[in-house]
């Protein structure tokens, strides 16, 4: 029998070691209204922290897409989703932990940018996530998905 694995690092220990301040933690049901409210709170928080508005928008959009993906594919069966956002001098880091089916958003799928009305766009959300983030990392920890990402505070 394999030894039990540690739960996802939600206490911020890894970030503390990396010198990142953990300053926004939330847990929400994967539902559209809750996702919208969460991203509004994150944007307000990042504005208070002095994060560039474009970078804050990118963080909110990435969180929206990751959380909406959980809502679409697993719904409430994914259980409460934990969100953590940390701000350091150079970047904003985010973490999403959910109990849905294994899903790696960093993998290339059929991300099809829209090219015309005859061609339906597919994978737009994941396309945005990959284009707007650096260090997009997925891992399956026990029965939960853990996705982390970072975005430069001074968006290019």
């Amino acid at each position: 029998m394999s030894p039990p694995r540690s739960p996802p690092d939600l206490a911020g220990a890894a970030d503390a070691r990396a010198g990142m301040m953990t300053d926004f933690v939330a847990e929400i049901a994967p539902q559209t209204d809750a996702i919208a409210a969460l991203t509004e709170r994150v944007m307000a928080h990042l504005a208070d922290c002095g994060v560039d508005s474009r970078a804050a928008h990118h963080v909110a959009l990435v969180l929206d897409e990751l959380l909406t993906n959980v809502a679409m594919h697993d719904g409430l069966s994914a259980g409460p989703v934990a969100i953590r956002v940390g701000v350091s001098a150079a970047r904003v880091s985010g973490e999403v932990v959910d109990g849905g089916k294994p899903f790696d958003p960093s993998l290339e799928r059929q991300s099809i940018a829209a090219e015309g009305v005859e061609r339906p766009p597919g994978g737009l959300g994941l396309l945005l996530v990959r284009r707007l983030t650096e260090g997009l990392v997925y891992e399956r920890v026990g029965a939960r998905n853990r996705t982390t990402f970072s975005i430069c505070r001074a968006a290019d």
Binding site: T32, D33, I35, A36, T39, R54, H57, A60, L61, D64, E65, T68, A71, A113, A114, E115, G116, V117, P120, P121, L124, G125, L127, L128, R131, L132
Partner: protein, 111 residues
């Protein structure tokens, strides 16, 4: 999201305010599809008050565009704000949509 409509001759201008995301896209789409259900509809969507568009919103925009095209109509967007424009650029929607910097330009194009 708030939606208001103005009729200018054959052109209907829809002013949207707020977010176009998973929580609002269904209502936005339903309103636009209803307006697009006429023959040769001419619709302008003023995005000056829209500061957040997610992929859920884009899918609805795509659906409305298909409906308008099928009815031999025209759909234009104006005053798209920089954060939203960036999303359109990344996803390829910029080349697909009829975009105008200002409402007056969109009105002139569709009149």
């Amino acid at each position: 999201m708030e939606l208001t409509e103005e009729v200018h001759g054959r052109v209907v201008v829809v002013t949207a305010r707020g977010r176009l995301d998973g929580s609002t896209s269904e209502a936005f789409g339903a309103r636009l599809v209803k307006l697009a259900s006429t023959s040769e509809p001419r619709l302008i969507v003023d995005f000056a008050g829209i500061d957040f568009v997610s992929s859920a919103g884009l899918r609805v925009v795509f659906s409305v565009l298909k409906r308008v095209k099928a009815a031999n109509g025209r759909l234009a967007f104006c005053a798209v704000q920089p954060p939203v424009r960036e999303v359109l650029d990344i996803t390829g929607f910029t080349g697909m949509l009829d975009l105008h910097a200002e409402r007056a330009q969109a009105m002139a194009a569709l009149a």
